[in-house]
């Protein structure tokens, strides 16, 4: 019975994984954190996914979980040494930089690095908003995923685009190498 459940779960989740990973990668900015986010999302889905959910709602549900996980992670980092969700204290949590590693940057061309640099300067919630729009979610869906009213959502989207434009301009003004040297730990 458990094997059947697992097979059904895999079949249900597999079409969603690439989209989830793309969104996670945009949010986290690096491969390791993105993979962790996707894995945590899948674990929560395995434990709590509402029975009989259809494909459309599944996608929204998963992205809501992903977004919440991401924001919770940001809060944990921001508010200090709080134990991870599994209850075990993780002394290495604060040592891991949220910035992309050399292997992450190596995957990008120069133009992409500029974008990436600007992107990572955005507030996490702004990154999430733009990432969800880039994933093709409409405002109704984003409102549901991020749990903010549409009025506020539209204002934030506008501001996020402006912030990114500003960051892109600044990133373009920088020579990429020094920027990278300053950011890679």
């Amino acid at each position: 019975m458990a094997e059947n459940r697992m097979e059904k779960f895999k079949a249900q989740m597999e079409p969603e994984l690439r989209g989830l990973y793309r969104a996670a990668r945009r949010l986290a900015g690096n491969r390791l954190d993105a993979e962790d986010l996707v894995q945590e999302t899948c674990l929560q889905a395995w434990q709590k996914l509402p029975a009989g959910i259809d494909a459309g709602h599944l996608r929204n549900w998963l992205h809501r979980v992903l977004y919440n996980r991401f924001i919770d992670g940001v809060r944990r980092r921001k508010h200090g040494p709080v134990a991870p969700l599994d209850g075990a204290d993780d002394p290495t949590a604060e040592m891991i930089s949220p910035d992309p590693g050399p292997d992450d940057l190596a995957e990008l061309d120069e133009d992409e690095r500029t974008l990436h640099h600007a992107w990572m300067q955005l507030e996490p919630a702004q990154r999430a908003l733009l990432a969800l729009r880039a994933e093709g979610f409409d405002l109704v869906e984003i409102e549901e995923i991020m749990a903010i009213s549409r009025v506020v959502l539209r204002a934030r989207l506008h501001r996020a685009r402006r912030s990114l434009a500003l960051q892109l301009k600044e990133a373009a003004d920088l020579v990429l190498a020094p920027a990278r040297a300053g950011r890679i730990r």
Partner: protein
């Protein structure tokens, strides 16, 4: 096409998939408007950005990480199966017969104190608020009606109806760094749990957004010199002002709900007490169409017992547990039907933490989910079975709690589990709780046999005393208590002991206890002479009880 239309396209459409006409109109506008052109190019950049592909082995790694939890669950379910089957046969039909009798004595959870909603509601701007992740409170440049026309597609499948809850910024009293760490862990878990509910839509409002909305809101009656909770406590509102105050608060809460287009408002307040680093208070208040309520829990990093939970682990994991419990309590109040099933699903889920399952059982038995109807839910066989299973916990605090709960249920299966526990439970306090739970069932042959053994062989003097008195008839119990009180060869403490130990339980015979005048005189003397504050207090309590019963007598 104007700036408004461009903004609408950027917000609602995939700009790579515009019609030719739309593209031409956009191009025309972008040539004349540098700001829109800037926004447009930014959006193009984002959409054109390459995201490195997912590692091909990631799915396999994810599935393999899930399999241990699946197999653990299966093993645990199988292990439970044997116990469940055996116990189910024992519980049988008697559970229904005893149910009403047993549930009527369910006490309110000591840690949960119902408080008037009005007193708990603080003005959002009056207290410190946590740093926010969200970034903007700017009003939209587009009318809502326009965006609705574009956004709402009747063909789009929608989720089941969801209740929109406006979560106002949390407030903090005396938040030192350690308390903030505790509160942040708790609040994160609180919000995470609420967000996981499919029938709730949680909308967090930041302090800035609330501030921006102030122009549309009636002023808070708590604003001004009395807005600080400490000042409020020192200078409470006069009783005769309360109706007006409540009406003003209700008006303001309604305005907040309407402004943010929500069904409920929800606030959470965290209180630390200077000089009491282990004591924290968490108060959640909601307001909405089904009424309002405040739920308060006293908890703390090293006081798991005070939270009504027996969770183990680090202070932060306990903080998270209390946050999750509080969220579930709020959810149960907002949506009683879903809340009740939620408690059951947590209780029956072997993957949930033990403390969560205990809290769920406690909450379920107290009828928190159905408090509006003032009814207690039925204790079914399967719930009793889970309780018996939880009584095997390795955590003595959990066992103490579960034994007390099982004592209130007293189904045949629970009685057998309790009787067995009286012999085998290693923790003295837990064994004392068991003995008190079994006290009123001493006529049951199995229970009696265990009491006979415990009366002589138990290592705890308290348990031996409870067992000894339990084996006596009611008249013998009274004689034992009075004879001990009058025996001046004993210490004050020993003379009071039968009363102080037995008063720990909710025993039927004690509720009708009437002490003779000589016993009361002995108690009076103990109260005057004893240098032990505990003994003095117990003696004074007995005298107060006796005085109450005299006044009530016809």
């Amino acid at each position: 096409m104007n700036c408004h239309d461009i903004s609408l396209l950027l917000d609602t459409r995939d700009i790579r998939r515009l019609t030719t006409t739309e593209r031409q109109s956009v191009e025309t506008h972008l040539q004349d408007c540098a700001e829109c052109a800037h926004d447009w190019r930014t959006q193009q950049r984002v959409l054109g950005g390459q995201v490195p592909a997912m590692a091909s082995d990631l799915p396999a790694r994810i599935w393999s990480s899930l399999e241990p939890s699946a197999s653990t669950k299966l093993t645990r379910l199988r292990a439970r199966g044997t116990l469940l089957l055996g116990s189910l046969l024992l519980i049988g039909a008697a559970a229904a017969m005893f149910g009403w009798l047993l549930l009527r004595d369910v006490e309110p959870e000591p840690a949960s104190i119902a408080m008037p909603a009005a007193i708990q509601i603080d003005d959002g701007k009056a207290a410190a608020t946590a740093p926010e992740v969200s970034v903007s409170n700017v009003e939209p440049s587009l009318p809502e009606s326009t965006s609705n026309q574009v956004l709402q597609d009747p063909a789009t499948p929608r989720n089941p109806p969801r209740h929109k809850v406006i979560v106002l910024p949390p407030t903090y009293e005396n938040p030192d760094a350690a308390a903030m760490e505790y509160f942040n862990a708790s609040y994160g878990a609180f919000l995470g749990e609420l967000r996981s509910k499919a029938d709730l839509q949680i909308v967090e409002v930041t302090a800035q957004e609330l501030e921006a909305a102030e122009a549309d809101l009636p002023p808070s009656p708590l604003a001004g010199p009395n807005s600080q909770p400490s000042a409020l406590a020192a200078n409470p509102f006069r009783e005769e002002d309360m109706p007006l105050l409540l009406a003003q608060l209700e008006k303001r809460e309604n305005a907040i709900r309407h402004h943010f287009n929500g069904e409920y408002t929800l606030r959470i307040k965290f209180v630390a007490y200077p000089g009491r680093p282990n004591t924290r208070e968490i108060v959640a208040s909601y307001f909405g169409p089904s009424g309002s309520a405040s739920m308060s829990s006293i908890t703390g990093p090293q006081l798991p017992g005070n939270s009504g939970s027996s969770s183990s682990g680090s202070p932060t994991s306990r903080a998270r547990d209390i946050g999750i419990s509080k969220a579930r309590e709020v959810y149960a109040r907002l949506l009683p039907d879903s809340g009740s099933s939620q408690y059951l699903s947590v209780l029956k889920n072997p993957l949930e933490s033990e403390s969560m399952r205990l809290n769920a059982l406690n909450a379920y038995l107290q009828g928190k989910a159905t408090s509006a109807e003032k009814t207690s839910p039925e204790l079914t066989d399967d719930i009793a079975e889970v309780a018996v299973e939880l009584s095997q916990s390795s955590n003595p605090q959990s066992r103490r709690q579960i034994w007390t709960l099982l004592g209130r249920t007293a189904t045949p299966a629970a009685l057998r589990a309790l009787a067995h526990g009286l012999r085998t439970e290693p923790d003295t306090q837990a064994r004392r709780n068991i003995a008190l739970s079994l006290f009123d069932h001493a006529s049951d042959p199995d229970v009696r046999a265990e009491f006979e053994l415990a009366a002589t062989a138990d290592t705890s003097a308290e348990v031996r005393l409870i067992a000894k008195v339990a084996l006596l008839p009611d008249s013998g119990r009274l004689s034992y208590i009075t004879a001990t009180l009058k025996d001046r060869s004993l210490t004050h403490q020993a003379r009071m002991e039968p009363l102080t130990v037995l008063r720990r339980g909710n025993l039927k015979f004690l509720s009708n206890l009437v002490l003779d005048e000589q016993s009361l005189s002995e108690i009076r003397q103990i109260a005057e002479e004893s240098s032990n504050a505990f003994v003095k207090g117990a003696a004074n309590s007995e005298l107060a009880r006796a005085a109450g019963s005299i006044r009530q007598a016809p």
